[in-house]
């Protein structure tokens, strides 16, 4: 099965945000209304009912008159080697053979360990169901032969879904063109980052201009535990992490979880 990806070409994006709403429509997500605080993007991050957001970043390139307004669609990157999947104590995460990092809510216990493990802090907690949610790359649509909702609705072709190697080839061509036409720092993001992503970005400038980590890393602690400890002593993880930066998570796994289940009784 060929590896698929979503390619987001910022040079074609008008930030109409149709993708955000199409995602909400398809994935049946309620609105999360937060106040306007001075930026068109009212959400500082994705949330349990918002799988994708659009960042708006202003940059003054020449104080005399030149301004750039960088738009960036932000959502799950569908890593080749997803940290969320590695740390999930319930095996709720799977990687489809075409590249989507899929989270199965049936298995999720809402421990949020994945949130903290993710280099992009993408998995988010949905309180009303006590579960984690995130972009699924529209697995249901793709496996029925349909384009993911966001790419399907994009008016200008800034988002396109297809074979990853073909999209990469297109992106390489486009980068050459952009570099020769006023965007010397144009680059591809997601080709090699974290070993490769099933979400590709074609950026008109360096990733930091768009608020993307230049060299994203999975927290070392997690790599160590996941690659070495879990295969042998998986049940130790929560204990071992107790008192660390992840104490919230572990405490929850150990204690809160069962209690809440007993009380709420919603499974």
């Amino acid at each position: 099965m060929a590896n698929k990806a979503n390619l987001y070409d910022v040079s074609k994006c008008t930030a109409c945000r149709g993708c955000i709403i199409a995602c909400k429509d398809w994935n049946q997500l309620p609105a999360v209304i937060e106040p306007f605080k001075g930026n068109y993007c009212t959400h500082e991050d994705t949330n349990g009912d918002t799988f994708t957001i659009m960042r708006f970043i202003e940059e003054e390139t020449d104080p005399a008159d030149d301004v750039k307004w960088h738009f960036l669609k932000y959502q799950c990157m569908h890593c080749f080697d997803p940290a969320c999947m590695k740390v999930c104590p319930q095996g709720a995460y799977t990687k489809t053979d075409w590249g989507a990092t899929f989270h199965n809510p049936e298995k999720c216990i809402g421990c949020q360990y994945c949130t903290y493990a993710c280099p992009f802090t993408i998995p988010k907690y949905r309180k009303r169901e006590d579960k984690i949610t995130k972009c699924t790359l529209c697995v249901d649509r793709v496996e029925a032969g349909l384009t993911p909702a966001c790419s399907r609705t994009c008016p200008t072709g800034a988002l396109s879904f297809g074979d990853r190697h073909e999209l990469l080839a297109q992106a390489e061509e486009r980068v050459k063109f952009l570099r020769a036409n006023g965007f010397p720092n144009a680059t591809i993001y997601g080709k090699l980052e974290l070993g490769g992503l099933n979400m590709l970005y074609l950026l008109t400038d360096t990733p930091d201009k768009f608020g993307l980590p230049i060299d994203p890393k999975v927290p070392g602690q997690i790599t160590f535990w996941q690659d070495w400890v879990q295969p042998y002593f998986g049940w130790l993880i929560p204990l071992a992490l107790a008192g660390s930066a992840f104490s919230f998570v572990t405490t929850r796994i150990l204690a809160g979880k069962n209690g809440e289940h007993a009380e709420g009784g919603h499974e």
Binding site: C13, T14, C16, G18, I33, G38, W69
Partner: protein, 833 residues
């Protein structure tokens, strides 16, 4: 729209949305297309990707459109004519105009009568007491045979071209940039880039919207585009045009149906109480031009009367012409005038069909006050809008500092309000006419919620009940309503849209099930009935005799052999399915030769061997992928054979708007907005001399209100927000009223990003969240720094997303021709709340 008709003959987008892909240069001005017409960018970015097209954006503020554009240039709100006048001068000085096109297809060579003049901001014929022009001197010279006198060399000192050259010689780059505040280097780049579309093998299109029309010089702003596009030879050709991006999904359809005081369906002047309009004969004699396609107007008017009054309309009684109301020739009944009259207590009742003046009307505080004088109000909408709820406590909430509005409570307001819950767009069926004149059908996909009903049903029901109320009246005044034909439009509980469509299309009186195939078949003898001649042709019959409503057609194959994206069998467009208006211009005057290097964009051509009339066997016919916007049998060599603008009496594109075409001048001239911090640098006339001033006491002084204010929209909301602020998903994207301002102004005022601020004008105060941005910059105008702020007008006190209506700030002043309010440039001040 009003600037288009005097230039080209029709008031509509000349090309269509998909055609944007055929352009080489797009000038987006007075429009934020990426935000307000996002899907147009699908086609413009395609043109850029596939043809190397360039996109230019000119706007006071850097927007999402600017970001996607190749070139952005700022200009101060209300200075478009200065900006474009400089472009006209640049085109003429550098001989960048498309000469063959200009000589043959425009009025450039026509000689203007002696007596026309322009001096210090005033054209000849101005009466300062009345504040109006007598425009009889703005006219062409006619020879003894009644023909226009012309000089194809364009050298005669009184030919349109030379007069225009002289007029715009004053718009040199220094003066222009001093007025507009555009950095000179940027201005020059815009001129250099866009005027390349004058090459015969290139086309350029101008896209505009409310940023152009919502000024006291709105009509003349559009006229400036028309002049530029005619000079560059960009009209009537794919990828060209002056493309009005209309704001509401069916604003074109509602305008076509004449929901405007000054017209009756099909853009026919509505009759007045002037003696010339006393009877049908007089009306037709006065309003029908002697030349051009509009000579057919009597057929359209008589067919309209037959459609509306049926058997009561006979040749003996002037086809019931007297049933149509005759408005007072000396009165204006436009939106502003209606609310001024209401404020004076001159109206008792008002219907609002999906409108929201408490949010969307200019000087909204005044319009809300005016509504309190109504005895009754009928409002139809999906939700309780701010206007339906204008009498509530909430509606009179104002910032604490507000002193200009007298607050009221529900018990002070004696208006009875009837709210009719309407079905949503996909809970009923019907058609909508888009900005490119495509009439598309939309089906019923869901049941209306609760007891809500389609507007068609309750409009029909009210009509039915009114007819019943007057059924036994013997009073002559009640005849129009009594004898009005009123369906029943099918046998169902609700009127059938196809049956209504048939009446609009027209039918034969002796065979009411037979649609008239097109407006050339309409007659002035009462044998045809047609509710709207421009929609004639939208209905046909299938082989089995059933009605076939063309807006339902869904064949999406491109019938253009050169891939121009005409889609002539997808839905239907007026007039007679012409997708590109004035397409006679897409070929050289001889009708055969394409413009050099532009073979692929030729839409129609003259085929001398095709049979145009099967009865006489006459040879020669216009043929092509698009429906010719021309008399199909008129050879290029015959008289009028190179007159591509068939709806104009001249047959030519008008660089000079002759006679009564406009009220404020045959050439666009720069004037400052009604409220401006600056005197006019071009002449002693600061304001458009032909505007009507409604509220002289509500004009702010720049000393008290030094900041320029403007209003605009964002992609996440729509118009007054009724249809978007009630949608949680859209409220999520844009939850609150905000105001954008430069970092420089914010610093002076001590405002930080996200602070609550008060914007104040002489008319009202509103609160908003500050969005301090690098995308707004102060302007340097005539050596002085001036700040501009901008605010979105989508907000009100209802819905999921709330905020103060920006129109509490805007003035009751309108364009000299259209009375469209000057929402886009006014004076204000801003401070921390």
């Amino acid at each position: 729209m009003a600037g288009l008709s005097p230039s080209f003959g029709r008031g509509a987008m000349t090309n269509h949305v998909v055609d944007l892909k055929n352009t080489d240069y797009a000038l987006i001005m007075g429009s934020n297309a990426a935000e307000n017409h996002p899907v147009t960018m699908k086609w413009l970015t395609k043109a850029r990707l596939e043809r190397g097209a360039k996109i230019i954006h000119v706007d006071p503020r850097f927007t999402r459109t600017s970001q996607i554009a190749d070139l952005y240039a700022p200009l101060r709100s209300g200075t478009d004519i200065a900006f474009l006048g400089g472009m006209i001068k640049y085109i003429i000085d550098n001989k960048l105009y498309h000469r063959d096109y200009v000589v043959n297809y425009t009025d450039a060579s026509f000689i203007v009568k002696e007596g026309f003049s322009f001096h210090d901001g005033l054209f000849s014929g101005y009466d300062p007491d009345k504040g109006q022009y007598d425009n009889s001197s703005w006219d062409y010279e006619i020879d003894a045979d009644g023909k226009y006198v012309s000089d194809p060399t364009l050298e005669h000192p009184r030919c349109v071209f030379q007069l225009m050259k002289k007029h715009y010689s004053r718009y040199d780059m220094d003066t222009v940039c001093n007025i507009t505040g555009t950095p000179k280097n940027k201005y020059l780049r815009v001129l250099e880039m866009y005027t390349q579309s004058g090459a015969p093998n290139k086309t350029g299109n101008i896209m505009y919207a409310m940023g152009t029309t919502q000024h006291t010089v709105g009509t003349q702003n559009v006229r400036s585009y028309a002049v530029i596009q005619l000079l560059l030879g960009n009209m009537g050709r794919p990828g060209g045009g002056v493309n009005a991006l209309r704001g509401e999904n069916n604003v074109q359809g509602s305008t076509d149906q004449a929901l405007l005081f000054h017209i009756i369906p099909g853009y026919i002047t509505s009759p007045t109480n002037s003696p010339a309009h006393k009877n049908l004969e007089g009306f037709l004699a006065k309003e029908t031009p002697k030349t051009g396609f509009k000579v057919n107007q009597p057929k359209w008017v008589v067919s309209l009367l037959k459609a509306w009054y049926g058997d009561a309309a006979q040749s003996e009684n002037d086809f019931a012409y007297h049933y149509i109301p005759k408005r007072d020739a000396n009165k204006n009944y436009s939106h502003i005038a209606m609310f001024e009259a209401m404020h004076r207590g001159e109206l008792d009742g008002l219907f609002i069909w999906g409108g929201n003046p408490v949010v969307g009307g200019p000087h909204a505080n005044k319009e809300q006050e005016a509504m309190c004088n109504l005895k009754w109000l009928v409002a139809a909408d999906l939700w309780l809008t701010e206007s339906a709820d204008f009498w509530t406590y909430q509606a009179w909430d104002r910032p604490a500092s507000e002193t200009k509005v007298k607050k009221r409570t529900p018990k002070d307001i004696q208006t009875e309000v009837f709210f009719l819950p309407a079905a949503a767009v996909y809970e009923k069926e019907g058609t909508a006419t888009n900005t490119g004149r495509w009439v598309q059908y939309r089906g019923k996909a869901a049941e209306p919620v609760g007891d809500s009903m389609p507007d068609l049903w309750f409009i029909y029901e009210i009509g039915k009940r009114l007819q019943a109320a007057y059924a036994n009246s013997k009073d002559a005044k009640d005849e129009p309503i009594k004898y009005m034909t009123w369906g029943p439009y099918g046998n169902g509980h609700e009127p059938d849209v196809v049956e209504v469509g048939l009446e609009m299309n027209g039918y034969y009186v002796d065979n009411p099930r037979k649609p008239v195939p097109g407006f050339p078949k309409l007659a002035a003898d009462g044998s045809t009935a047609c509710g709207n001649w421009i929609y004639c042709g939208q209905m046909t019959t299938k082989a089995n005799g059933d009605l076939d409503y063309k807006p339902m057609w869904r064949d999406n194959k491109d019938n253009s052999k050169t891939g121009l994206g005409l889609y002539s069998n997808w839905s239907w467009c007026w007039p007679v399915n012409r997708r590109v208006l004035y397409n006679r211009c897409s070929v050289q005057p001889d009708g055969v030769t394409p413009w050099p290097g532009d073979e692929k964009r030729q839409l129609i051509g003259w085929d001398p061997l095709a049979i145009s009339d099967p009865l006489t066997g006459k040879l020669g016919k216009w043929v092509g992928d698009d429906v010719p916007d021309f008399n199909t049998a008129l050879a290029p060599t015959e008289p009028g054979g190179i007159n591509p603008f068939i709806m104009r009496p001249e047959g030519k594109g008008c660089l000079f708007a002759a006679k009564a075409s406009t009220k404020d001048g045959p050439f666009p001239e720069h004037y400052e907005p009604w409220e401006s911090p600056f005197p006019n640098l071009m002449s002693k006339q600061n304001k458009n001399p032909a505007i009507k001033v409604w509220e002289p006491d509500k004009q702010a002084s720049p000393e008290q209100y030094p900041i320029i204010g403007t209003t605009y929209r964002v992609v996440e909301h729509w118009q007054t927000g009724a249809l978007t602020r009630n949608l949680p998903w859209l409220a999520e994207l844009m939850p609150n009223m905000f105001v954008e301002m430069s970092e420089q102004l914010a610093k002076i005022k001590g405002i930080r990003n996200g602070d609550k601020v008060i914007i104040t004008t002489i008319r009202g105060d509103v609160e908003a969240v500050a969005c301090v941005t690098k995308r707004f910059k102060p302007f340097i105008v005539d050596g002085r720094t001036v700040h501009q702020i901008g605010t979105v007008w989508h907000f009100g006190f209802k819905g999921y997303a709330k905020g103060d209506p920006a129109n509490r700030l805007t003035p009751h002043i309108g364009d000299a021709n259209t009375m469209i309010p000057e929402y886009k440039a006014w004076l204000c001040d801003v401070r921390r709340a």
